[in-house]
Amino acid sequence: MHKKKKAISNIVAAIIMFATLFSIIIPLVFYIQNENVLYNSAVIERRELDYYRSQEDLEVHAYEDLKDNNKIKVEAYNKGDISVIIERIWIIDRNLGLDGIYIFENNSDCTPDLPYLLNPREKVVTFDTGIKAIVSHFYDVKIVTRRGNIYIPKESPLQGGHGGNPAKYAYSLIVTIVNMHPGTTYNFTLVGNVPYSPYTLIYKATASVQDISMSFGVNAGEYTLYMSDGAGWNIKETISVPQTLAVVMDCSLSHIMYGLEVTIYSYPKNPLKINSTFTIRAKIKNIGYSTLDVVAVLRTNSTWEIISGEEQYIEDLQSMEEAIVSWDVKATTIGKFGFWVVADSIESNAVIIEAKK
C-alpha cells in the first residue's frame, strides 16, 4: 500500500489564513460597518432636524396695545404643518442700549409663559410682554423657536406711540445705475441704521436695458449702498436721506388691529305663527390682531319682544376666533319685519321674518 503524502505546510498556511480572516479582517469590516451606521444615523438625524426647521411657518405680529397701557404685545399664529415651540421673545429698545434688551424665556414675566407650544393652525396666541412703549423709541422684536428659526414681525421695529407700525418707510430712495454691461448681474445692497426695505436688489443688464432706476423704501437717515458685479468689482456710495416732509396715512389701527365680521347665520323659516317664539343666531369673528370685548346688539324695525334682551356680551374674543350669539324673539304682531345685528358699529346682513295668523 502506498501511503498518501500529507502537505502539512499547506494546512498550516490555510489555518493561519482563516485565523487572520476570522479574527482580524472580518471584525475590522464589522467595526467599519458599525461606524458607518453611526455616521449615517447622525447624518439622517441632522437632515431631519434641518427639514423640520425648514417646515416651521409662523406668522408673527407685534403692536403697541393702545387699550392696555401702551404695552408691547406679540402675536403668533402657526400656519405650518408641524408644531412649533416658541422658546424666546426679544424686545430691544434701540434708545436704551444694554438696558433696553428684554429677553423673555423660562420663568419670565411674559404671559402666557414661555416656552409655548403652538400646534398647527391653532388659534392666535398673544404674548403680553408688559413692556410699555415709550413715544418715539424704536423697538426691535424677535421670536425664536426651539428649532432655531428667528421670526421678525413685519411691524418691527415698532415705533412707540404709534400702535401698529404705520410709518415704516416714509421716503423713497431712487438709485439710478447707468452703463451696465449686458449679461452681467449686479447686486445692490443697502445698509442703514434706520428701517428700510428691501435689503438687496439683483438686476441683470441686457443689451437693450443698460440704465435703470430702482427704488428703496427708507426713513430719514444715513445709508450705504454697496454695488458689485459678482466678479470682484465693488463700489459703495454713502447716502443721506434728509428729514423733510412726508405724509403718512395710518390705516393699521382700523384694519389690522381691530376688525370684526358679523353675519346672521340662522333664523326661522318664514312665515311664523303669531305669538310663536324663534331664535336668531349671529356669528361674530375677530379678524383683527387684538383680543376684543364685543357687545352685539340685535336691531329690528318691529315691536316684537326680544326675550333674551337686546345686548349680548362676548369677552376676550381672540384674534381669528369666532363666537356665536343668539336672541330669542316672540312675534307679537302680524307683519314682515327686518332683523340685523350690530357689533362694535359693524352691521350684519339683514333678514326678513314674517308672522301670520
Binding site: I24, A42, R46, I101, I150
Partner: protein, 186 residues
Amino acid sequence: MNIFYTYFKKIIEIFKINKRNKSRIGISPVVSNVILASTTLLIGFIMIGTTMNWSLTTSMEYGVATEKAIASQKSNLIIEHVQIINNKAYIYLYNIGRIPLRIVCVNIYELGEAPPSPKYELKTFTDGKTLLDINDFKCLIEDIDPSLIGKSLVIRVYAIAFTIFDPYEPAKNIEWGIKIDYLYNA
C-alpha cells in the same frame, strides 16, 4: 519516549545512508515537512502580527475620523442677536445642535472687506463657563476695534463640539467645527 527513540534511530540511519551514498538521498519528507511547516508558521505569525497592527491602526483612525464627522454633523448654532455698545460686542448664541459646543474664535470685520485670519482660543461666556450645552442660550462679550464702530459688520463665530476640542491646541480639528455669520447693520 518510544516515538522519540524511533525517530532518533531513523535520523541516525539517514546519516549513515548519507555517508554511504551522498549523491542519491536528500533529507527525509518528515524533516522537510517540519522545516516547511515551521517556515510557514513563522511567516504566518509575522503576517498575523502585521495584519493585526494594521487592523488596530486602521480601526482607531477610522473610529476617530468617524467620531469627528459625527460631532460635526451634530454641531449646530445660531447667533440670535448682537448688540454693540462701548467698543464691545454682546453676542447671544443658542445651541440648536445635538452636542455641547465650545467657541474657539470670534471674528468681527467690516461688511465687504476680506475676513481676517482667525486666531483660535477658548472663549468664556458671561456666566464664566466655556461650554454651551444643548439648547443653551448664552452671551459672549468680544472687544471690537474702535475703527469698526458705526460700520456695518460681519460677526463670524467658530465653534467646535466639546468631544473633539483640544484645550491645549484649540485650532486642532477646526475643520470639523462650524462657522456661522451674522450681519450687523450699524
